[in-house]
């Protein structure tokens, strides 16, 4: 009697335990399914981002020449970076110059072009194509083209200027003009950002303009109080992407320096023209490449990469934090 009573009392508990187990199994199955669907991303993230990041952090504390095993040196690479390497600060200054001048100009230029294309009444398709097409040109080919047309002695730009009685600048051969020349190249290929701005401008609700117009707002006020606030999330996007791109600026600087210095075909030469002229195009990623792949000093290059990551992160956080003051999301979201 006692046994059967106890058994009866235990039965519901066992059922509850079974249910809990079943729920747990179902939850695990669900998690497994989620993981299964996420696995391509997890694998990609791990292989192409997580592992390189961890390895860069590890290698930054080692002497590593790519060919023999890494050797632990502690913080020596960071000490050399901050206290020994004479090229780090010029390279950082060049990169900051890009962030300060190229990024705002690119955003302004892309916005301006998008505004014009959005207002065009005829040939909209042609204008969109014309302004977007340069974005499809491979960076190396585009840079080669610009070095050719801006050649101070034989280029068509200076030839045209000389017909007007103006002696053209030395462009990529001048430390004063080399970065502005790269900015011109950057503005020419701004198609991607322009298209994003164009989509955002077209997407601004018409009734907002109508209301503003009824309130007596002219074109400038409509731009400042309707267009800009409405597309401010896109401006934030363009600024953040622009800053990150500027900090990673490499291909165009590498090609322009190599071609303008006249050394491109000289495979036998040990001479180095990265940063030509006078280190004016020696951007931080170019110096990182020089250390890692020309000097085979990969431990130091990894330390440079870690510092670049930290600085880029700080910049983006600063911009995003500051953006709360000027970015407006439709529906009032922040």
């Amino acid at each position: 009697m006692t046994t059967s009573a106890a058994g009866a009392a235990l039965a519901p508990a066992r059922v509850a335990a079974d249910r809990r187990r079943a729920r747990r199994r179902a939850a695990w199955r669900r998690r497994g399914l989620v993981l299964l669907f996420m696995s391509p991303w997890i694998a990609g993230f791990g292989v192409f981002f997580g592992y390189p990041l961890v390895m860069s952090a590890y290698l930054s504390l080692n002497h590593y020449d790519l060919l023999s095993a890494p050797r632990w040196v502690g913080l020596a690479n960071y000490r050399y970076l901050f206290h020994g390497d004479p090229l780090v600060w010029p390279a950082a200054k060049n990169t900051l110059w890009l962030v300060a001048f190229m990024v705002p100009l690119q955003v302004l230029f892309a916005f301006g072009i998008a505004q014009m294309v959005a207002r065009a009444r005829r040939g909209v398709g042609v204008f969109r194509t014309v302004f977007y097409l340069p974005a499809l040109a491979p960076p190396v080919a585009a840079t080669l083209g610009f070095v050719y047309i801006l050649n101070p002695a034989t280029g068509p730009v200076n030839a045209a200027l000389s017909h007007l009685g103006i002696e053209g600048p030395l462009w990529f051969n001048s430390p004063t003009w080399s970065k502005p020349s790269l900015v011109l190249l950057g503005l020419w290929g701004i198609g991607n950002t322009m298209i994003i701005f164009l989509a955002a401008i077209i997407d601004v609700p018409k009734h907002l303009y109508e209301s503003a117009e009824l309130d007596g707002a002219g074109p400038l006020r409509r731009l400042v109080y309707v267009t800009l606030p409405t597309i401010s999330p896109v401006i934030l996007f363009a600024v953040v992407i622009g800053v990150i791109d500027a900090m990673q600026y490499f291909t165009q600087a590498y090609v322009a320096a190599d071609i303008a210095s006249g050394s491109a075909s000289n495979a036998a030469s040990g001479a180095n023209n990265l940063g030509y002229p006078e280190d004016s195009t020696l951007f931080y990623p170019v110096l990182l490449y020089q250390q890692g792949f020309r000097y085979f000093n990969m431990g130091y290059a990894s330390a440079m990469a870690m510092v670049l990551l930290a600085v880029a992160l700080a910049f983006v956080l600063l911009i995003v934090r500051h953006s709360r003051r000027w970015v407006h999301y439709q529906g009032g979201g922040k």
Binding site: L67, S68, A76, R79, H83, A153, T154, L170, A268, N272
Partner: protein, 438 residues
């Protein structure tokens, strides 16, 4: 448990299959075809690559069990990447000896000492400079395969027009002739330049000028010695000549000079009266501008004792540590670097300087008058090369970074600037060897 056992068994079978396949890929079964195919990567391209292939086909005739696949246009970056990923070929040839230090010190290229000993070869068969730049701290991981030697090329027609009878022998003569030979248009722009002193233009590297003043890169302890009278004299002269031309004028002239390794080369087109260049230009002129009337001579020097000397460096050839067929690779390396016939053929056709003493004195070498100048410079006891370091050419590049500012007039204090570069180079070398900042 059964699943685990099945999985382990499957992995084991796959691993075994992979190992077998891998082994099959690297070791050709004896007697299957009777030949082993090896691959050589070389920096040569175009016309010069064709010449290399011709000599390698001679090797294949004398070594019927070895077939060679030749790949041209390879840089050191690609060689290093391939060694790291285990996809390096059997033999690699590099255009620059600057990376000998890292190849030897890391074991990326194997030590050829045991192979040489087995075949009774000694490094004394190579001229001193070539023997030096193919080893690092006693490890011989490379052999020299033709040397480059630098001298002066001059345009005879422009010399005759200016009334100059012979090429300059002193720095003062070089300066005077450079000014006399220079032609400008009405606006003052340079149309023909006497001698272009602009560093980083064509072959105007600091290392190529150094022997003219007897300037040395390091002292006995391996410390950088740029702040010395010889380097200061060179840079003072160089800046004065740059200023005489006008920095902007030189930049504009350089931008219009044409690509160095094409038929647009400014010297070949008669736009440059005197130029510092390598011995290979003889073959380029013959192929591209045979009508050019020119001569060759040793570079002018600051002292009579140094006249006749110059700068030399050269191609290096070795076997990557991951080479699949090392024994066959050694046969090819030995042939290209030590066979008198191979060296002579390459020298005659490429117009590079042979790098064995036997080949240098061989009757197979048929130098024309222009090329003979470089053989004489190579044999001069004061002819020097650049130091081999574990940091490659980093010390030269740090110096070049400073000299570009110097010639632009951005650096005013020569001695202080050179002292600062000395420190930067010593710091870089210390960091490169893993010692951190000293």
């Amino acid at each position: 448990m059964r699943r685990v056992a099945t999985f382990v068994a499957s992995v084991a079978v796959l691993a075994l299959a992979a190992t077998t396949a891998s082994a099959g890929a690297t070791v050709r079964p004896a007697g299957s075809t009777g030949t082993t195919t090896i691959t050589i990567w070389t920096g040569f391209t175009g016309r010069e690559l064709g010449i290399i292939k011709g000599v390698i086909s001679q090797f294949e005739k004398t070594h019927p069990t070895i077939a060679v696949k030749t790949v041209g246009g390879i840089s050191d970056d690609k060689i290093v990447a391939a060694i790291r990923s285990g996809t390096a070929p059997d033999v690699t040839q590099s255009f620059t000896a600057d990376n000998t230090g890292s190849f030897c010190s890391t074991g990326a290229w194997i030590d050829l000492g045991p192979y040489m000993k087995k075949d009774h070869l000694s490094a004394s068969m190579f001229p001193t400079a070539s023997a030096y730049y193919t080893q690092f701290k006693g490890t011989r991981c490379a052999l020299p395969m033709l040397a480059d030697v630098y001298g002066l090329y001059y345009n005879k027609a422009l010399f005759a027009k200016a009334g100059i009878a012979r090429p300059p022998r002193t720095i003062a003569e070089l300066t005077a002739d450079a000014k006399k030979l220079t032609q400008r248009d009405a606006s003052g722009k340079i149309t023909v330049i006497g001698f272009n002193p602009f560093l980083a233009w064509y072959e105007n590297a600091e290392s190529h000028f150094a022997p003219m003043w007897g300037a040395r890169w390091t002292n006995a302890e391996g410390r950088s010695t740029l702040n010395t009278p010889q380097w200061r004299a060179f840079l003072t002269w160089q800046k004065q000549l740059v200023d005489w031309y006008g920095y902007d004028n030189l930049v504009r002239f350089n931008a219009s000079a044409g690509d160095e390794f094409t038929a647009n080369n400014a010297f070949e087109r008669g736009k440059v009266a005197m130029i510092l260049d390598g011995e290979w230009r003889v073959a380029f002129i013959k192929a591209e501008h045979p009508e050019l009337k020119y001569g060759t001579a040793p570079l002018p020097t600051a002292s009579a004792k140094l006249f006749g000397s110059g700068y030399t460096t050269g191609n290096i050839i070795g076997i990557p540590k991951t080479a699949p067929h090392k024994a066959e690779a050694w046969q090819l390396v030995k042939y290209l670097a030590t066979s008198t016939k191979a060296e002579a053929t390459l020298s005659n056709e490429l117009r590079n300087v042979p790098t064995t003493k036997a080949a240098l004195h061989s009757k197979l070498i048929k130098p024309d008058r222009q090329f003979a100048t470089f053989l004489t410079i190579f044999a001069n006891p004061y002819t020097t090369t650049t130091p081999i370091t574990a940091a490659g050419a980093a010390y030269q590049e740090l110096f070049a970074s400073w000299t570009t500012k110097w010639q632009a007039g951005k650096e005013k204090n020569l001695a202080a600037g050179l002292a600062a570069v000395d420190k930067q180079i010593d710091d870089q070398l210390a960091n490169q060897t893993g010692g951190g900042v000293p």
